[in-house]
Symmetry: D2
Subunit: 310 residues, 4 copies
């Protein structure tokens, strides 16, 4: 079961659960997976930026990926971003052997020119193997690499194994429109476009032609409903749902501290046993926790999913 | 009338109005100023990042600043950020001579270490003159300069003429709390903290101790009401108002294209004769305009200020 | 007298002389110009990165440029790099009116993608006027903008008024070879390539096809001789001369402190009345001065031009 | 045998030898080690920036380190820079178990503020273990992290296991003087300072108080002699030797292509069987090879070590 250019829906970015003392918490993985499946996600992506991948040794990373793969009924994409192609190849090989559906690759933040970016993805595609479907992660805010629409088109057209774009440029709406226009004209091979950036523009991204979301907002069940409503053309209902969640979603989408917020809410939702991160960790102050609780309480008035036990 | 460390409320970031052919549009300045005064803003900041300052020759910049100063009943802060201290000094001197209430200074994006940032502000303070009140602009997303809370404290304590922080770090809530805590303990001279970053966290920023907002959201009248509600402790009403505007505010707070959105709405509100920018300009696509219109229409259901003639 | 794509030889980067109290030192400009002419330079570039341009108000900048223009028998290029096109246009217009031979434009360090760089130069060329010959400054070490050879070719082919490249990429030898190859094949309009980067690779750059140097090494008379020897094919003599100066040239080519070294040696050579810089200035320690004196003394054994009175 | 704050002399940065088809070339490692020992180096550093560490899987990296350790009579430092502390810890633990003398840690290029840098090294020191001596790598040109002298002092004073600075700031001479002055005054614990940056300022760095060199110039035997001469106070002879090698040393010290030059000369010296790099590799053009051959031929006139068979 490998990802293809036809992928649609929500691929949730999964956190890596730890116990309070920093050990891997496999039981929470199982709970997360069960919840994802029940929520109707199309798949999940593990060991991404927010999966604390850099805090895992190779064997641990593989253990996390394998657990998700074994438990889930949906495809699992594994983040294999690495400073060198050797580590990338090793993780991709082992993850695919374990049953991953594809890999996600973010660019190193030293790339600058168009040609450097295109060459990097060609080398990465070769490193992971031409038969391994991969996802471009286009997140300039975090990676400081600016990919024009033309660069993405070059990568897609040059590499048959590129099947998906994790779209999280900001602003990014016109990029979706440009890529889809090129597809229509036959100038770019069709790919799946799933949107990240915390979901901050997901309301309009689906309308612009994105196939779904790939982000880790602490209510993936809401993302699933939102994408479905938007794809069904129920514009008002989609925006109503989006707007209700926007205050919390915006709070979660803060660089650095966002992961702490996400794990905290997932813990309050009963999905994670602990909101612990491995060190070095971003932390929430008591004040920040109170703010998140307040946002949840306000949200609970209009969305029952936010009614959590205190 | 100079700004002081006691400044509170909303200092609106004013755009520079142009006619369709790129000429200065002084009549629109007058209309903006009248609207600002009527809305209850505490002041305005001109020639900032979004004031297209870099597209104005010195004489034009001075003409814009002077017009705002002459027409407004409130203090006008003038952005004097420049690549060299000579240009900064020249504009600061001329702006203060014209009646400005103070100047705003952003750091050049080449600064890296704490000491470099502190030294830069000492030199800038000397360049504009020790008697000229100045505002630190702390906007790492745009300027790529990361100021810790300690660095801000050093700048404040070293420079008596530093009276205000335009706070737009992201995340930035804990920074407000840290600075206010130092003030309470007497470790930092009190200053005014006004929040920017498009207002994206203004709901909680006031609660954390900020004195108000300094941003250019296309509904400055709403910002005034919001700050007042929050400062009066009417938490629910403040958040209700904020949440209603968040979808549009979030759309406006996109790097680059944000100014086009802002000018477009201000034009639709009848305040600008044209939404023209001087070149090089970010542009809105027809699709983006439709999206903004849709957000305005949704907003109009709950806030009459958004009921605009099509 | 305007610069053309046929320009050859040494265009010296001129410092801006100040008196000890920071005033413009016009007498030293006259002395520098007389020395440049006597040394056989083909021209000079003023108000560049090392001309402390950012420390001059517009009127002063114009005064410096005009003085060089009036006194020199050779073309004077004026640096007009600015954060906005308005200031760039104003200085370019005034400099050309004063008799400048062309302008030099460096890219703002916020440019990332190929298209951004190409668009910037198109806008800059329009801003200064299509009839004003301009020089691209390609100095990634300082400006953090990486221009591939292809990007330079696009700028050259798109803009007829682009006549020269100040080449200071590092490494940069292959770039010269690539550009010259495109010229030979008719794929790029011929331009003048003058090399900067302190002259650190000037020995090989001329051999690769560069037309000369544009740098501010404190022995411009040596640069003139070196370029002539290399262009005459006297390879051994050119390298002998280069190698003799390399220890000092390398010392001068230090970011930041380099200008202090340069002004110090020019003062010791009797060309500047003072080595003062306007604030903020990089300074030489006593130890650094001793090191430069030592390098000069060693150099003096093989090159009489370095025999300076202590 | 662990490195200490008293380390002196030359720690050569060792390349990782590959055969033409990309396999590890252990025989060349043995030849390199024998040559290093014979040359009188004090130690070697493997798996650094130029050791192509990112192209090695964990097991290979360990194999390379182990081979150097087993064969050398001197201490071997192992580069353990990694994007996450898990990978850093794993490699450090395995390398120390294999007999490494210490580890070298470069900062991730996302660090900006003083506090971030200090915190990073505290976390890294904890990750590798408080008993493992470590080296700070201060190379802003490559890592884009600017450490002031004060930041280095904080790291040294906070972490007893920090015993050495790989100094390669540019300019960097005043930093050596500042650190040594603090040592003299008792404000900073003494550490070993070994200089990198290709050796471009090694002539003066030893005079300023550095303990030696840590760089990979293709004539490590010359570095040994140079450091000895300088430490013996034979200033003229040290500078004569340095100046003779400067043209080649400067050519080698080009970002990116430098490794190709280095491996090419080491191959020509009979130390490497091949100058192959693993992909992605920087390559030398035929023209560049001719230039290096020319520099070697010129050097051979004054230094017999450069007389190589063509």
């Amino acid at each position: 079961m490998q990802i293809t250019a036809q992928a649609r829906g929500v691929y949730v970015i999964a956190p890596t659960p730890f116990t309070a003392d920093g050990a891997l918490d496999l039981a929470s993985i199982d709970r997360l997976v069960a919840f994802y499946d029940e929520s109707g996600v199309a798949g999940a992506t593990v060991l991404g930026q927010l999966g604390e991948a850099a805090k895992l040794e190779h064997a641990e990373a593989l253990q996390v990926a394998s657990r998700f793969i074994q438990r889930a009924r949906t495809p699992i994409i594994v983040g294999v971003t690495a400073p060198g192609f050797a580590a990338m190849r090793a993780l991709a090989r082992d993850a695919m052997d374990a049953g991953a559906a594809g890999v996600m690759i973010a660019p190193p933040n030293t790339l600058r020119t168009d040609d450097q970016i295109v060459a990097y993805y060609a080398q990465a595609a070769a490193a992971v193997g031409a038969d391994v479907p991969f996802v471009i992660q286009d997140y300039p805010l975090t990676f400081s690499v600016v990919m024009t629409s033309s660069v993405i088109r070059r990568i897609v057209n040059d590499n048959p194994s590129c099947v998906m774009l994790k779209h999280e440029d900001w602003p990014g709406l016109e990029k979706i429109s440009a890529l889809r226009e090129w597809q229509r004209k036959g100038e770019m091979r069709p790919i799946s476009i799933l949107c990240g950036n915390g979901g901050l523009f997901l309301d309009f991204e689906i309308e612009r032609g994105a196939d779904g979301a790939m982000t880790g907002y602490c209510f993936p069940d809401v993302l699933v409903e939102l994408v479905r409503l938007a794809q069904q053309g129920q514009r008002e209902r989609a925006h109503d749902l989006f707007d209700a969640h926007l205050p919390l979603l915006r709070y979660e989408q803060q660089p650095g501290v966002g992961l702490a917020v996400r794990k905290y809410v997932l813990m309050r939702r009963g999905l994670l046993a602990s909101d612990a991160q491995r060190k070095p960790a971003s932390a929430m102050s008591a004040r920040a926790r109170e703010e998140v609780d307040y946002l949840l309480a306000r949200l609970a008035r209009v969305d029952a999913r936010a009614r959590l036990d205190a």
